[in-house]
Symmetry: C2
Subunit: 394 residues, 2 copies
Amino acid sequence: MAKTVERPRMNAQPALTSMAPLNPPERLLMGPGPSNPDPRVLAAMSRSLVGHLDPFFVAMMDQTMDGLRQIFQTQNHHTLPISGTGSSGLETIMLNLLEPGDSAIVANVGHFGQRLAELARRAGADVRTIEAPPGEIVDPADVDKMLTERPAKLVAFVHVETTTGACQPIAPMVEVAKRHDALVAMDCVTSFGGMPIEIDALGVDAAGSCTQKCLGAPPGLGPITIGPRAMAAARARNAPAHTWYLDLALLFQYWGEDGSKKRAFHHTAPISSIYGIYEAIRIILEEGLETRYARHRTAHEALVAGLDRLGLSLFTPTANRCPTINVIRAPEGVDEAKIRSRLLDMGVEMGGGLGALAGKVWRVGVMGYNAQVSRVDRFVDALDEALRAEGWRA
Amino acid sequence: MAKTVERPRMNAQPALTSMAPLNPPERLLMGPGPSNPDPRVLAAMSRSLVGHLDPFFVAMMDQTMDGLRQIFQTQNHHTLPISGTGSSGLETIMLNLLEPGDSAIVANVGHFGQRLAELARRAGADVRTIEAPPGEIVDPADVDKMLTERPAKLVAFVHVETTTGACQPIAPMVEVAKRHDALVAMDCVTSFGGMPIEIDALGVDAAGSCTQKCLGAPPGLGPITIGPRAMAAARARNAPAHTWYLDLALLFQYWGEDGSKKRAFHHTAPISSIYGIYEAIRIILEEGLETRYARHRTAHEALVAGLDRLGLSLFTPTANRCPTINVIRAPEGVDEAKIRSRLLDMGVEMGGGLGALAGKVWRVGVMGYNAQVSRVDRFVDALDEALRAEGWRA
């Protein structure tokens, strides 16, 4: 990729004198994300830059917040894209809502449940987790029991666990948490923009997602929404959050508090990425949320039918499945990593298993721009070819 | 910018049904940043996406680290672009190097010195600051005195204070800190890529910058370098850092520890932004560091000569000036905000003063792609026109 030559230098480091022209391969990104962004979004990201306090940009920030509220189905003023990837949005929630001495309960049914628990621990909270076997979800009655034993400030869960494909229904988790007066935080990284997320109707206090899955943009921003109860908890902290970059109070000095026109510099917003999410939201509003969710379901059904033709089946129990991430049992006698490698040679990416499911499953995303039957069919054909080449199918 | 219509909805929120096409105005961005990126960088950011563990991308990560090492003039393995803006890179340094109970000394001669101090406080450190009047720098003898009174784990300073234009020479600050066995962290946000930053030769333990100034890319990443002494301090912490997203140990599980080919998923890298910084670094290596620094000096001299023709002068004392950020005295009897607003109407952005200098100065960046005499001349002509229109110049 680059030419490194040795030449005498003060610090004796081999000097990198040139780098190869950027020429990324074309990929059909059917893994758990990033998915292919809508080409309109990529085009938007290369538009000419403006300043982070330019009136044009400030108006665009307002529009971006409005658009995110539509997709979150919320009136929460405190809705914005955090200037980091999806993980940074979830960390923002945890670092602001929790502080040392607080208690949190985290539903942990896979890698991203573990991440939520670790984010809460890093915020200084005492964290209790509830596990379930891969593919299963947490029984809200167990959360109830745990809260009855000892209250918690926050209950956190993953809506769609990307590693197992299991979808945790939102309403029952919220209901049990509210009964015990706990806040509810939700990771909706793999559902936001591809499945209904009714923040206000269901009463979720804080939720965070990413841009590179169902939203149809490249990775780089962490859209979050924070409700009034959660904001009140953040404001009632004993000490400032152990972060300056992700401090909600400081962030909204720049993004604007409700009803205020005042914008104070905090950090320089990632302008080009905001162009991207603006265009992605615009595309979603053009399409309409219900049409978009239906498109995800249709593409998912096309995938399941295609896998069935290939003799493959989904790992996740039917009751827990969702359209956006499809976890497939890797067939016995097949080197699953070799199949993925063959696919990549054909320009198609799919994901392997993580944690307990490593080597046992494939993960296929049907997300955003890629949630199209034509793209799913292209994927199934490629998988078919790879399996045949490995001698698994005649 | 968008059409909002009222229609009946479950949550009674006015539905945003459409957003205007993205059509950002063309700006000559001569403020303190963002500056205009090289057009090649914007084009790179819209190239087709690959996965964050794609072999193509992993090779590009290595190259990006190598390139950053060249610009930092370091052999530090732990050199990478943090997945957030420049502030997130500096926060990474503070949250990893400092923990509750630690002592830090921060040179604070403007807004960004204050930010460094606040970042250190958020990390839990006991922070002592040394101030100097706007435009002045900190006397290393005062740091020496403070360290003699009571040791500190870390001494932090801003190389080029963006709000006052003052450049703090690196070597004397490092010398005094080392004499007291303190680590040295440096904010080089406004110098990296436009002025020499010799990390290894000068012995700086940790440094952080941004992409939207002298590097010539849009905002969105925080390039940092962490030396062996700093990494040892981060590893010797009593408790894990109060961050998961910015934890150095976790980040290098993905970016790769020295000599290891192993790459474990941490967060999904902002692929398109990495494309951008890759191309920006490539442009810098093509140009050569010395040529680039000379270009910044030449453009700065053209600006000073141009301002002189207009009867304007720099605020910063001559001895403390640097090419990249130019703080100009707003002339008496001129509404400085009105001049900036007139300029923006002409498609030219310059910065106002921050903090103590608000309303008193303008800030003009000569950075990266904009460090060209032709672009500086265009700026001076526009400023001339704006001043004449406001009746200040005949």
